[in-house]
């Protein structure tokens, strides 16, 4: 295709992505190095017969004018990145010098909001991704073993947890594990503690969030593996049998190698999706126990005072995290396709 034709065909899509993805990244970068203006304070001297007192008042008009003139705020460089709510350099330095062991250091580190959110996000991604892929694989094997006419309805049911709106799916689960809900009652009777509440316990809350994550992302792995199982070369399987391969050996040497490329693809998609975990924390009202990077940004943006600079700094750090996570894939894609495409 000629350059000129390509340009016109690609223009609408490129314009949308440039204006609403590329420029916002620039905007986030800008905002993260500016802080809101402080209020303009004037010192007024009140004199009376008893002498003079100095009082300070906020000059509202001047503050508004300043904010109007420079909506971005004042330039503060990298100080937002290093403050307590983000990378917290000085707090970490204090911790490093005072902590008497690696565990106290880590405890202190994870009490800092950014590191806490980072830890939850990474734990969630690293736990949910492999477990959901594994669950999906077993479900695919099981569905593949039932008679053909039953498979349609089973695929329908299995797709539901994935297709459901994340916020809504998490809410449904949250209501069920409520101390007055059916799963909550079950957990209480299993633990033998009638006052046990998932809402009140940090480890239980983390576990529930991850259970939700596995529940909602296993169907994707199931569908991909199920489709993969349909294309397993039957001839290879049969010749392996003739050669005396056991059932386990057939799985190990024929089916698994066939499904391996699918696993890489799925792991990539799932890591991207799990890294942005956000809605379940809103639904579970879990912010006291677990915060993810996305939720951290969301809570800065919402509320009465919109902490735009703080949210922007977290966003930049999150985007860097995404790039780091993706870098092996990007390098691999570049190596495989990049040279061939030219």
């Amino acid at each position: 295709m000629k350059h000129r034709t390509f340009f016109w065909f690609f223009l609408p899509s490129a314009a949308a992505m440039f204006l609403f993805i590329a420029l916002p990244i620039v905007s986030v970068l800008m905002q993260s190095v500016f802080a809101p203006h402080q209020q303009v304070v004037r010192e007024v001297e009140n004199c009376s017969v008893f002498g003079c007192t100095k009082t300070t008042t906020v000059d509202l008009a001047a503050t508004a004018a300043l904010r109007e003139a420079e909506p971005l705020g004042r330039f503060v460089g990298g100080s937002i990145y290093t403050d307590r709510n983000h990378l917290a350099f000085s707090e970490v330095a204090v911790l490093a010098s005072t902590a008497d062991g690696i565990s106290t250091f880590l405890d202190g580190l994870l009490n800092l909001p950014f590191y806490g959110a980072l830890l939850f996000t990474l734990t969630y991604t690293l736990v949910v991704t492999p477990l959901s892929i594994l669950l999906g694989f077993v479900v695919a094997l099981a569905v593949n073993a039932v008679p053909r006419f039953l498979r349609g309805p089973m695929i329908f049911v299995s797709l539901l947890p994935m297709i459901i709106t994340p916020l809504v799916g998490a809410l449904i689960l949250f209501w069920m594990v409520d101390a007055r809900g059916v799963l909550g009652a079950l957990i209480q009777s299993l633990a033998g503690d009638p006052n046990l509440s998932v809402k009140a316990s940090t480890p239980l809350m983390w576990a529930m969030l991850m259970v939700y994550g596995i529940w909602s992302s296993a169907p994707f792995a199931f569908v991909v593996y199920y489709a993969g199982l349909q294309t397993v070369p039957q001839d290879t399987l049969e010749s392996a049998m003739i050669d005396g391969a056991s059932r386990w050996e057939r799985i190990r040497y024929v089916i698994v190698p066939h499904l391996l490329p699918l696993t890489t693809f799925m792991a990539l998609i799932k890591i991207m999706d799990n890294f942005r975990v956000f809605e379940p924390i809103v639904s579970f009202n879990a912010s006291a126990h677990a915060q993810s990077l996305s939720y951290f940004i969301y809570s800065d943006l919402g509320g009465e005072t919109r902490l735009l600079s703080s949210a922007a700094a977290t966003s930049v750090l999150t985007i860097l995290g995404v790039v780091v996570l993706l870098s092996p894939v990007l390098v691999r894609t570049w190596k495989t396709y990049g040279r061939g495409a030219a």
């Binding site: 916002p24 529940w215 990007l330």
Partner: protein, 294 residues
């Protein structure tokens, strides 16, 4: 189709697999059935301290309303809390997002699939990075400019933002789809004197619908399920369904009207069920399209 020898399994393995499958199906479907059933009860039954069986039999519902099923949750949400307005907004947003992103996506995807230059590859790689970014990071970039230019709070703003966030995925899917349509088709049209656009219009468009429908389904799901963008960029009167449900939790849980949220959750789920029922095949093929080739 007869069972192949290679498909035969020992009975013990079959029992284990089928048992596992039953457990999985219950895990996948039970939460929906439970919530659907419970949405016709009063709060005291759906959240019962005394006995979880109350959510099924509904003694308090019978005592309060005279029948074991009640639609008060639905009436409260749809009429009193004006959930219908949110549903209407959702419909506008979803239909516009699907139409616009498919239009942009087919043009762009076709161009990427037919271009043999290196920049097409780079564009796809950039799109992959864009696809990986959490939408909420972009939202923090929108807020300040949108406030400044008075764009905040309107439906068209949310629509165009969702279209843009949707583009990377749409481009990837449609590019791989267009690559499967033989080049000879449009090239022979061009040999016959068509311009590139005419070839696209008269030769490609008639054969592209299966891929477009599949991609459209995923655009639909993205727009319908979105919370981060619609919650932060829409004003209260323009809210779509998902942020509206989230706002129920903030305001009505204290009033004891959590049943509004339960009934609206069921209302939001219903269209998704219908969608999966009708388009199961397309959804499955769409999910696997990227994987089987990648």
């Amino acid at each position: 189709m007869t069972t192949r020898i290679a498909d035969r399994r020992p009975p013990a393995l079959l029992i284990a697999l089928n048992g596992f499958l039953v457990v999985w199906l219950v895990i996948a479907a039970f939460p929906f059935l439970w919530t659907f059933w419970g949405s016709f009860k009063v709060e005291g039954d759906f959240f019962s301290k005394a006995d979880w069986m109350n959510a099924i039999t509904g003694p308090l519902t019978t005592a309060e309303t005279g029948s074991s099923f009640t639609a008060t949750g639905y009436v409260g949400a749809w009429v009193q809390e004006e959930f219908w307005r949110a549903a209407l907004n959702s419909a506008i947003v979803v239909v516009s997002v699907v139409c616009i992103s498919l239009t942009f996506g087919t043009l762009g995807g076709y161009a990427l699939a037919r271009s043999s230059y290196r920049y097409a590859f780079w564009l796809l790689l950039v799109a992959l990075v864009f696809r990986a970014m959490p939408p909420v990071t972009l939202v923090s970039g929108y807020l300040l400019p949108f406030f400044e230019w008075n764009l905040w709070g309107h439906l068209p703003t949310a629509i165009i933002v969702l279209v843009a966030i949707n583009q990377p995925f749409t481009l990837w899917m449609l590019t791989s789809f267009f690559r499967n349509i033989p080049k000879d088709l449009d090239e022979s049209a061009m040999v016959d004197g068509c311009s590139r656009f005419q070839a696209f219009r008269y030769v490609i468009i008639p054969v592209m619908w299966p891929g477009v429908i599949t991609t459209g389904l995923f655009s639909f799901l993205l727009a319908y399920n979105d919370f981060a963008v619609t919650a932060m960029l829409l004003s209260k009167e323009n809210q779509t369904m998902i942020p509206k449900i989230a706002s129920f939790l903030g305001t009505t849980q204290t009033k004891g009207n959590v049943m509004f949220a339960v009934s609206s959750v069921v209302s939001v789920t219903a269209p998704l069920f219908v969608l999966v029922m009708f388009f199961q095949r397309q959804i499955v093929s769409g999910l696997t399209a990227g994987a089987v080739k990648g």
